[in-house]
């Protein structure tokens, strides 16, 4: 006789509470494949956990963003923000699409050179450039975005006897009505610091001031702030023209556009509330077009978007290790990936989907990672069906920052797989091994037991 399908016995207390932000999130569907490649086969072939990136989605995101700006404004250039995801395969996708490189350290700078990006298409940002880094950037004719006066002075010294004057821009911080105000990077607009940096550079005769740069924040949920920023940069550019007879070639509005992840503490989900790339493009380009630049004299508009172009192209696949019931009766699932490889779980409520069919009953639970550390919590509260050990889960929208901010801690970092446009899978970063982590280590002779 055929046996009946089994489900875990489960009772749920019927609650009566008030409406508040901790609503249950349901609408769950099993998420069985990415671009048509099954989650099961990906884990079978590459292990668990494993990061998976969709090349199709990355290109789609880039093209949508480029179209949003280029259909509104004649001169647009994107520069891929290396720190968001600097796996070489990922960078090459963006470079193929026409992106320059935007880097913030000597390490990233050399990575961009290694990826074959011409020096004059590398933007070098950040507060921490060393003398060596700057010299390298000068040699390769890169665009150096100056963060502070000490860096400016250093550059003036380095460029004293050069025939080709280094090309520089200044980073500017400003009040755009958003909280918090990022005043730690660059020169302040309102107190005149930015203007004095401008005059110092143009007056030096040894540096070419080619651009103005700002980056007003991260995960910006209001497009309007970019309109204010674009206006202030444009104002400064026009002032350079009229007072110093100096033409600014480009305005770099930075990045900070959000993906559709839901921030912790947010009431409504990111899918509904986050402005689209077209909203941002509309505000920024109309501010510049309406500012009063002569029509053939519009500055090049540079954007350094990272997160919005890749977050939703990345998935983390993993496996349930165990279930638990906590002392207060709440359910908990332990999965095989921790916060050390999913940094973004500190600020997002990541959507997590089961990768196989499940029974209808859901339960509010905690998802813990495998680390023996109290902070290792993937979701503090999520409604999921009852999961069995061995069940597979998919974490969505993890393409930004995780594959750069992850750290080797307690466990080894997993493999990263790219699904190309023809649905072929490629290993683009191997999983770490004990040997890999041991390689840089040295044991003094008196402590060495393995002679």
């Amino acid at each position: 006789m055929e046996k009946l399908p089994y489900e875990k016995p489960y009772i749920k207390k019927l609650q009566a509470g008030a409406l508040n932000k901790f609503g249950s999130r349901t609408g769950l569907q099993p998420f069985k494949s990415i671009d048509g490649v099954s989650v099961k086969s990906l884990i079978e072939n590459y292990g668990s956990p494993v990061f998976v990136l969709s090349e199709k989605q990355i290109r789609k995101n880039y093209r949508a963003a480029y179209r949003a700006f280029s259909t509104r404004y004649p001169k647009v250039q994107f520069a891929w923000s290396y720190k968001t995801n600097y796996l070489n395969a990922v960078c090459q996708i963006f470079h193929q699409e026409g992106s320059w490189a935007e880097v913030v350290s000597g390490f990233e700078y050399r990575k961009a050179l290694g990826n074959g990006v011409p020096g004059n298409k590398i933007i070098f940002n950040g507060p921490g450039k060393s003398i060596n880094d700057l010299q390298l950037a000068i040699e390769h004719d890169s665009l150096i975005h100056i963060d502070h006066f000490d860096e400016l002075n250093l550059l003036l010294t380095l460029s004293k006897n050069l025939v080709n004057k280094p090309r520089v821009a200044i980073r500017i911080n400003m009040d755009t009505g958003v909280y918090p105000l990022w005043d730690r990077f660059g020169f302040n607009y309102e107190n005149g610091e930015a203007w004095s940096a401008v005059t110092k550079i143009t007056g030096s005769g040894s540096l070419q001031l080619v651009g103005l740069h700002c980056h007003i924040g991260t995960y910006m949920l209001s497009a309007d702030a970019y309109g204010i920023a674009a206006n202030k940069l444009a104002e400064l550019a026009v002032r350079c023209q009229t007072e110093l007879n100096h033409k600014i070639e480009y305005l770099d509005l930075g990045g900070g556009f959000p993906s559709t992840n839901t921030l912790k503490g947010a009431y409504l989900p990111g899918n509904d509330t986050v402005p689209t790339i077209d909203d941002f493009a509309e505000v920024i380009t109309s501010a510049l077009l309406n500012f009063g630049f002569a029509n053939d004299d519009l500055p090049l508009l540079i954007l350094e978007s990272g997160r919005v172009l890749i977050d939703d192209a990345g998935y983390l696949l993993g496996t349930v290790i165990a279930n638990k019931r906590l002392a207060n009766g709440k359910g908990a699932a332990i999965v095989d990936f921790g916060v050390n490889i999913l940094f973004t779980s500190f600020w997002y409520e990541h959507q997590v989907s089961p990768a196989q069919d499940f029974a209808a009953h859901t339960e509010n639970m905690v998802i813990y990672g495998p680390l023996c550390m109290n902070i290792d919590v993937i979701r503090e509260s999520i409604n999921l069906p009852l999961l069995n050990p061995g069940d597979q889960v998919v974490v969505h929208k993890v393409g930004a920052y995780n594959m750069t901010q992850w750290m080797q801690f307690i466990t080894l970092r997993p493999a990263v797989v790219l699904i190309d446009e023809k649905l072929r899978t490629h290993l683009i970063r191997k999983n770490e091994t004990l040997e890999y982590t041991a390689e840089p280590e040295l044991v003094p002779a008196h402590l060495n037991n393995n002679k």
């Binding site: 409406l19 609503g23 249950s24 409504l268 509904d272």
Partner: protein, 350 residues
């Protein structure tokens, strides 16, 4: 001619007629007064103890909705199911926190044949507590000064400027008048846990509390407005009794607001009239108030006017209403069986 409203089915949220009442039951009472027996009322609830669910002579059937936090996709899916069962003509949402989603899906609802009469996202945002001061400054309204609070450190800055007492408000709901730093901290933490940041600290204005319930036509005019002076206020700041009043200054205030915002739909202006007679706008709620039945009693049935316009009928602006109509709210213990509670809790329908 046959009565075109003979077979109406209208869905209403905000069935929480409790000590901090939602407007749903009052809206239903208004609608029933005009459309009578031809009207089927569908309750839309979020919680299984919203009293309206159990008042079966008022609400024909109730369906549980997904929380606003679940997003619009889940909401559309649920409403499509409900529409399949009930064939809705109109939805009147009555919660601030659900409006963003309902505005977003209004075009989809229209495709399903369901009418709404709602403000735009821009209108919703400009009267948001976070933006109200700016809106007032730009358009010449008195609005108490405020500070946005993100951390407990910000409370101190606000207290230095406003002194005590001041008002601490949640993003969507709840407001506390606080007299000490301790009370301010407590309010901050409570509101943080319930609604997240920003939390708003507002200058406390002393005076008479007046509310205006109105219906904007989306083109800068009010179709109806009725003002009410609060006579008895609960410890949650809600009117427990009030009387309709008429004053050109109040009419002007609401008309100016409609002109400045082009508001479409029902709304409520909470006004404080200070000792010098300045009318401070404390808050603008993007939906009818819980006392909206008083508008019908005074001669301007606002929910009915909204329903008719939403369904395509031209409605002339009301000219006058009766001052001196009094409402006194009362509470009532309705009896039901635990099976009803189990039913709505587990199946989301009753």
């Amino acid at each position: 001619m046959a009565n075109k409203y003979a077979n109406l089915c209208i869905a209403v949220t905000g069935l929480n007629a409790n000590d901090n009442p939602g407007p749903g039951m009052a809206v239903i009472r208004c609608l029933k007064e005009c459309f009578r027996d031809g009207l089927r009322i569908i309750g839309l609830s979020y919680e299984s103890l919203e009293p309206g669910i159990y008042l079966r002579d008022q609400v024909n059937k109730t369906y549980q909705l997904p929380y606003p936090t679940e997003g619009t996709a889940a909401l559309v899916e649920r409403l499509a199911y409900i529409n399949g069962q009930e064939k809705l003509d109109l939805i009147i949402p009555n919660f601030d926190s659900e409006l963003f989603n309902f505005i977003k899906i209004a075009p989809q609802l229209q495709q399903m044949g369901i009418a709404t009469y709602l403000p735009t996202h821009q209108q919703l945002a400009l009267r948001d507590k976070v933006n109200l001061k700016n809106f007032g400054t730009k358009n010449g309204f008195y609005v108490p000064a405020d500070h946005k609070l993100y951390t407990t450190d910000d409370i101190k800055k606000a207290a230095d400027e406003f002194n005590f007492p001041m008002v601490i408000k949640g993003k969507f709901y709840d407001a506390y008048v606080v007299y000490t730093m301790d009370q301010a901290l407590k309010a901050f933490h409570q509101l943080y846990a319930a609604w997240g940041v920003p939390i708003i600290a507002q200058q406390y204005i002393k005076g008479n509390e007046i509310n205006i319930s109105a219906l904007g036509d989306g083109n800068g005019y009010n179709i109806s407005l009725v003002a009410m002076r609060k006579l008895y206020i609960t410890d949650k700041g809600k009117a427990w009794a009030g009387v309709t009043i008429k004053d050109d200054k109040l009419t002007q205030l609401a008309d100016n607001f409609a002109r400045a915002s082009n508001w479409k739909g029902g709304y409520e202006i909470e006004v404080m009239s200070d000792a010098e007679g300045h009318l401070y706008i404390l808050e603008i709620n993007p939906r009818f108030p819980a006392w909206v039945y008083l508008t019908a009693a005074a001669g301007q049935n606002q929910p009915v006017a909204l329903a008719k316009i939403a369904m395509g009928e031209g409605v002339e602006p009301y000219a006058d209403y009766q001052a001196g109509k009094l409402f006194v709210r009362y509470s009532w213990d309705h009896i039901a069986d635990i099976a009803d509670f189990q039913q709505i809790s587990a199946f989301g329908e009753l």
